[in-house]
């Protein structure tokens, strides 16, 4: 693993013996699924060869080494990355960071450190980051926050690792591989951390974790949201268990902060292995298309374990997580779009669970009538329409920030404003699978409702639901358990709840969808509403089994049940309203419900069916 010093490029070499040591010393790391990304820039062929040699040694020291082999194989794919391991100091003359020179005054040393912190891993790596279509950690923070509002903390923190030559000054970067601090978005306070891929591939050291924990703790004491901008190769392998401990420290804080301050993750690069659990614990996970990945194990491990051929993008790209897995809540085209959208999104959220839903100046009349709604529900009960049309025309300025727009599309959830006040919208989507509830849509809806309830955001529910989706796939998948989540979420929610039944509200799904019985504050029905145990056809087959004139019976059933009266006469809906007045009614009700107070019985914590 030695190379000729005259030929070597300082920033591109791997100290193979130390790798070898790492592998020997910590085979358990691999077992713990911490996928380590050692990104090699312009990997020297000799180096690669030596690496393979190192691997064969490693293999003999540990049988369960498959994971490592594969993660090393992936190294070659990633160009322009950072070096995570030691290089001899003699090779570092070019990008010299030599701070302990005694003749410099403290002030000069401070300035030097600050300057060094601002360039992170150096201009070359910044250029490399740009070449990949990614912004640097600091650029991201700058764009996310209001101009000149960023107050950085821990710029002088450095990692404390002394193994594998890491203690050398050339391997110390002021601030380490994360930028942390607080700032303002549209004037409102927020805490931010932004992982710096140019420093050790953004890998998480003990110091890195400590910095994140510090701002999370501050966010908790002040009561302000935390936004994480993730771009990290994974654990700092040189630090071993310290790195793992760092993850756990963050996880714990994510859990403690859950429901106290909003936490948002924006994945802007790789995020793999144990690292994925921090975003998973936060309230919202957004991704950047084509440049961000989230997975527990990379494609090579997958290949070796399950023999599946899959690319990074297919396995954990933005498309996968926003359409198939439901892990991510939104995906954006690139860094700039993602950050600008994050600013917009942030404006919907209260700073903490002690704050009411924010009210922004509104230009849209609260008593605006929406005439197009009077004809939106088709005459044929089987014909679809787009629930988004209803939502967009009712909310302020047609401004609806949809959450998970590409996943479980049979339910629509997202944030909007009514007369300036943030509200959470939940709606069945008749356009997709008739708007039925299934496993995915129940889980999607439940998590959203719980977020709103945790943060004092009123919930407006538009109901057009034919019931739960039948079938073995659903039953075997546990629709009973998952459907219960949505029921649970609506039932426990104590925020203002307004429900509008636009058309069908059949069966158990009627109960689930924020019905009066689950403490709905205001429940409206449109004249087209049908609240019943089931549709006419099915009902008639049961009630009038064997009876000749099914058509006649069906007509009778329709006359009796396919209208809002059965629910209205019992007081299960408060009023039957003209659709065009819906916006006006909701705005008026929210005004009154702003002072709603409802407290659930004391408990350590509730036990939602997970």
């Amino acid at each position: 693993g030695k190379s000729d010093p005259s030929r070597s490029r300082p920033s591109t070499l791997v100290h193979i013996p130390s790798l070898l040591l790492a592998v020997r010393a910590h085979p358990h790391l691999l077992l713990a699924h911490i996928t380590v990304f050692h990104f090699l820039a312009r990997c020297h062929p000799r180096t690669r060869k030596a690496m393979m040699a190192a691997l064969s040694v490693a293999r003999s020291s540990c049988r369960l080494i498959n994971g490592l082999r594969t993660s090393f194989r992936s190294l070659g794919q990633v160009k322009h990355g950072a070096v995570a391991v030691a290089v001899p100091p003699t090779n570092l003359q070019q990008d010299c960071r030599w701070y302990s020179v005694s003749h410099l005054s403290v002030k000069e040393r401070i300035d030097r450190k600050r300057t060094a912190a601002l360039v992170g891993g150096g201009q070359k790596r910044i250029d490399a980051q740009h070449k990949k279509g990614k912004l640097t950690a600091r650029e991201r923070v700058e764009l996310l926050l209001d101009p000149e509002s960023f107050v950085e903390s821990d710029m002088f923190v450095e990692h404390r690792c002394s193994d594998f030559g890491m203690e050398q000054d050339g391997n110390k970067f002021p601030g380490d591989s994360v930028v942390t601090g607080r700032g303002r978005i549209n004037g409102r306070l927020v805490y931010v951390f932004s992982q710096d891929f140019t420093v050790f591939g953004g890998s998480l050291s003990g110091a890195h974790a400590q910095k994140i924990c510090k701002i999370m703790d501050q966010a908790m004491t002040v009561g302000a949201p935390v936004i994480g901008l993730n771009d990290s190769g994974g654990a700092r392998i040189q630090e071993g268990v310290e790195s793992l401990a760092g993850y756990a420290d963050i996880f714990l804080r994510n859990v403690m902060a859950s429901g106290v301050v909003p936490q948002i993750s924006l994945i802007m690069g790789p995020c793999a292995g144990g690292a994925v659990y921090s975003p998973a614990l936060t309230d919202f996970t957004f991704m950047v298309k084509d440049t961000s990945y989230l997975f527990i194990t990379g494609p090579d491990v997958v290949k070796s374990v399950t023999n599946e051929d899959v690319t990074q993008e297919e396995l954990g790209g933005a498309k996968t997580h926003t359409t198939v897995s439901g892990v991510a809540h939104h995906a954006f085209e690139n860094d700039v779009e993602a950050l600008l959208n994050m600013r917009e999104f942030f404006n919907f959220l209260p700073l903490s669970n002690q704050d009411p839903a924010p009210i922004r100046e509104c230009h849209d009349c609260s008593d605006r009538l929406v005439h197009s709604l009077d004809t939106i529900v088709p005459f044929e009960t089987t014909k679809a329409y787009d629930m988004l049309d209803i939502i967009q025309t009712i909310v302020d300025e047609s401004d609806f920030f949809e959450i998970m727009p590409s996943y479980a599309k049979n339910i629509v959830v997202g944030f909007a404003r009514m007369n300036g006040r943030t509200v959470g919208i939940v709606g069945n989507q008749p356009k997709v699978a008739s708007g039925c509830l299934d496993i995915n849509s129940s889980v999607k809806g439940a998590r959203f409702v719980r977020f709103c309830d945790a943060f004092n955001i009123p919930i407006i529910t538009f109901v057009d639901v034919p019931g739960f989706l039948p079938g073995t796939a659903q039953e075997y998948g546990g629709i009973i358990r998952h459907g219960a989540k949505l029921l649970y979420a609506f039932a426990e929610a104590t925020v203002p709840k307004i429900t509008i039944i636009t058309r069908k509200a059949y069966g158990g799904a009627y109960d689930v969808m924020s019905s009066k019985h689950l403490r709905g504050d205001v429940n409206y029905a449109w004249p087209t509403a049908e609240v019943a145990v089931m549709g006419a056809k099915g009902a008639v087959q049961i009630i009038f089994r064997g009876k000749e004139s099914q058509a006649e019976a069906e007509a009778e059933y329709v006359e009796k049940f396919a209208n809002p009266f059965p629910a209205a006469v019992r007081g299960f809906v408060d009023d039957i309203i003209e659709p065009s007045t819906t916006r006006k009614r909701i705005c008026r009700d929210l005004e009154v419900l702003a002072s709603k107070k409802q407290i659930n019985p004391w408990k350590k914590h509730a036990n939602i069916p997970l």
Binding site: H130, G133, K134, L135, E139, E142, L143, P147, S149, R184, N186, G187, R188, L189, V222, G223, A224, D290, E333, N334, D335, V336, E337, L340, N341, R343, E344, F345, N347, L351, S352, Q354, D355, P356, P358, I359, R360, E361, C362, H363, D364, C365, H371, S372, D374, T375, I376, V377, F379, D389, T393, D396, E397, G420, W526, P527, T528, N563, E578, P579
Partner: protein, 711 residues
């Protein structure tokens, strides 16, 4: 469903209010401009009229019926059950499912509706059964008045070959051509050669540009013959074709006639309808800039001669082609109320529907020829749900998510049959409305039209307002230098929207920047008591980067009060306005000039779609910092469209001419899509081999659906 059933009396009330305001709007400037004749309540006509049509014309007829105190009956297809014309009528009868052949053309069902409701007369509107002699006969047989000409006149004028013979006999100028039915493509080629190219091939039973093709050589004649006969068969159930000399660069000017059953006939001046695309009218005006009083009189008199020759009664239109030397040739006579009749009403003050009803009841005309004035000028723009960037207009469909007519302006009349929330479906004509403006002079009417188009809010469907606004502001149109070839001549490479010059580009950039800043500032306005105080960015000067299709522009904005001063492209623009972020309209004052822009959409990443001078422009406003960072963002490669053929519009696949593996040449027909009764041939844009075919004849396709992939 109770929600949709508004009581008829309420409906009438609503209508009355709307109508009254509409009329008072007319009276504000031109006391006599519209409907100078006052209906006398003592003159009894009918108690109840059934309107055998839909959309704007059904609504138009009902307005007059209401005025005359006549009960109205609407017929409708099932998808139209909540349409405006149904709500406006006193009674409504469903006559069948969506396809017109099963509903609006379903004579049995309509006859049943007449019997069931006891309607004494039927107004057919235009299209559908308006020129159907069979329908007129059946009505006559049951003693129901047909508000239109007698059957013999429909028969005589409905057939283009026969009508030409009659016109010749009545000493009306006609176009040289072949007076007979053409049976085969080869015969068509032979006849075309005899007459001399170019020739016009058209359906004998046709009208409205359907089943009409122009051919400049033998090959085009064959193709034209095939298309025309197919279209004629599908539109009119009659595939007979005829051929005549095609007059190059002509104007299309038509004379409105009005005749009673007592042998009296009047000509109500002309309408200039030269602005057409694919032989369908787009912009009409009355009077024409081209006609002098002598020619007008000559044309009017020939039109009346023809009307008298066929004992015409009711309103009708005699269409002429007029060449550059003011020679005019009879084209055809439309024995019905014409789409563009409102402009004639504006300049003459007559309510044509009222006159038709009177005549149908047997009353004599109230007017003499000398009583017919030309008061001012009227322009009509046909607002269609179609994409003007594709062959000057391919149909688009959708739901009108937002819809606001510019009725707040004076001297504006909008004839429409839709409202916010209506669906524009593939089943019917994609017309949204007829927007009519009038004024004492042509310039006044045109200026008002500009305003009206700018203030017209249509969301949810693609519409042709960009094209309309370009036409009415084009120097050639303003000078009156137009012909039926106007569009292809002015836009030889197709319509591309408004072309910005230095000043208008600056205005657009400045407006976008000002709007962006307004939204940014508003984002900081959080109300209520805050636990953690907010510290908004205090700023009154911004450096922005505004991107248009042609590149990026550095912009500096300063704000004082509601006025933004924007420095852009070496110039200074002052923009002020009310800046309501919820309103679709942005009434701005830009450098002292009033302009109404529309904000079509606005997103978090600075993208703003602004309708400016009729055309929508994609603008992206970024802070200087964001723009700098944006330069690092990779361009995402869009899909290569040259090897993918997608349906340009929703419709039905009529024919697929290729199969996988076939080699195709550039321009070769790949398949034919029929939409709104028009057949559109889709061709290959490059020479290639067919990789796969994803459609088959008879299938319904949506806009953007993949049809054929090439290799």
């Amino acid at each position: 469903m109770a929600a949709h059933r508004v009581s008829p009396s309420l409906n009438r009330l609503l209508f009355a209010v709307k109508y009254a305001s509409f009329q008072s709007g007319c009276c504000a400037v031109h006391c006599n401009a519209q409907y100078s004749t006052i209906h006398s309540p003592s003159e009894k006509t009918f108690d109840k009229i059934l309107i055998a049509n839909r959309g704007e014309i059904a609504c138009r007829v009902m307005k007059t019926c209401h005025k005359m105190g006549i009960q109205t009956v609407a017929v409708h297809s099932d998808v139209d059950s909540s349409a405006v014309h149904v709500k406006m009528a006193d009674e409504a009868v469903c006559v069948g499912p969506a396809p017109t052949s099963k509903s609006y053309l379903n004579m049995d069902a309509i006859m049943d509706a007449i019997r069931a409701t006891g309607a004494q007369a039927v107004h057919p509107g235009y299209g559908f059964l308006s020129e159907n002699k069979e329908f007129a006969k059946r009505l006559a047989a049951e003693g129901v008045a047909f508000i239109g000409p007698d059957t013999h006149a429909i028969m005589a004028m409905g057939d283009k070959i026969e009508s030409k013979l009659i016109a010749k006999a009545a000493n009306v100028n006609t176009i040289p051509g072949y007076d007979g039915v053409v049976k085969t493509a080869e015969e068509a080629v032979k006849i075309a050669q005899d007459i001399g190219y170019p020739v016009m091939i058209k359906a004998s039973a046709g009208g409205g540009g359907k089943g009409m093709r122009i051919a400049w050589n033998a090959e085009e004649t064959r193709e034209g013959f095939r298309f025309s006969s197919q279209e004629a068969a599908s539109s009119f159930g009659d595939d007979r074709l005829l051929i005549e000399k095609f007059i190059d660069n002509p104007r299309h000017i038509e004379i409105q006639v009005l005749a009673d059953k007592h042998g009296n006939a009047l000509w109500l001046n002309e309408r200039e309808c030269s602005i057409q695309r694919r032989n369908q009218k787009v912009v009409e005006e009355a009077p024409s800039t081209f006609l002098d009083p002598v020619t007008r009189r000559a044309m009017g008199e020939q039109a009346v001669q023809l009307a008298k020759a066929v004992q015409y009664s009711s309103a009708g239109t005699v269409e002429f082609l007029v060449d550059s030397k003011k020679n005019f040739y009879f084209l055809e006579m439309n024995t019905r109320l014409q789409v563009e009749h409102p402009i004639t009403e504006c300049i003459t003050g007559l309510d044509l529907v009222e006159q038709m009803i009177r005549v149908a009841k047997g009353y004599q005309l109230q007017h003499k020829q000398d009583d017919i004035p030309i008061n001012g000028w009227a322009i009509e723009s046909r607002v269609y749900a179609e994409d003007p960037y594709k062959s000057f207009g391919l149909p688009s469909i959708g739901r009108l998510s937002k819809y606001q007519e510019p009725l707040n302006l004076s001297n504006v009349r909008v004839d429409s049959g839709i409202q916010e929330g209506s669906d524009i479906s593939i089943y019917y004509d994609p017309m949204i409305s007829k927007l009519v403006t009038y004024g004492a002079t042509r310039a006044e009417a045109l200026a008002r039209m500009e305003d009206a188009l700018d203030n017209y809010v249509i969301r949810g469907v693609t519409h042709n307002i960009p094209l309309l606004r370009e036409i009415i502001t084009h120097p050639r149109f303003i000078s009156g230098d137009i012909s039926t070839n106007f569009l292809p001549e002015v836009y030889p490479d197709g319509f591309k929207g408004h072309q910005l010059d230095v000043d208008t580009r600056r205005e657009l950039l400045a407006s976008a920047a000002a709007l962006y800043i307004t939204a940014q500032l508003r984002s900081q306005k959080v109300l209520g008591d805050l636990r953690v105080s907010s510290s908004p960015v205090e700023c009154s000067r911004w450096e922005l980067c505004v991107q248009l299709e042609d590149g990026s522009h550095s912009v500096e904005v300063t704000k004082s009060g509601n006025v933004y001063t924007v420095e852009v492209d070496g110039g200074k623009v002052e923009v002020s306005g009310q800046w309501n972020l919820a309103s679709p309209l942005l009434p701005l004052t830009i450098n002292g000039t009033h302009r109404t822009l529309q904000c079509l959409s606005r997103d978090a990443s600075g993208r703003i779609l602004l309708q400016y001078l009729g055309t929508s422009f994609k603008v992206r406003v970024l802070s200087k910092l964001a723009a700098e960072f944006n330069s690092y963002m990779p361009e995402k490669v869009p899909e290569d469209t040259s090897s993918i053929l997608r349906s340009p519009m929703p419709g039905t696949v009529v024919a697929v001419s290729v199969k996988p593996g076939d080699p195709v040449a550039e321009g070769q027909e790949i398949c034919v899509i029929e939409a709104m009764k028009m057949q559109n041939s889709l061709t290959a844009v490059k020479q290639a081999k067919v990789k796969s075919v994803h459609c088959k004849p008879g299938e319904t396709v949506g806009e953007g659906d993949l049809l054929v992939e090439l290799e």
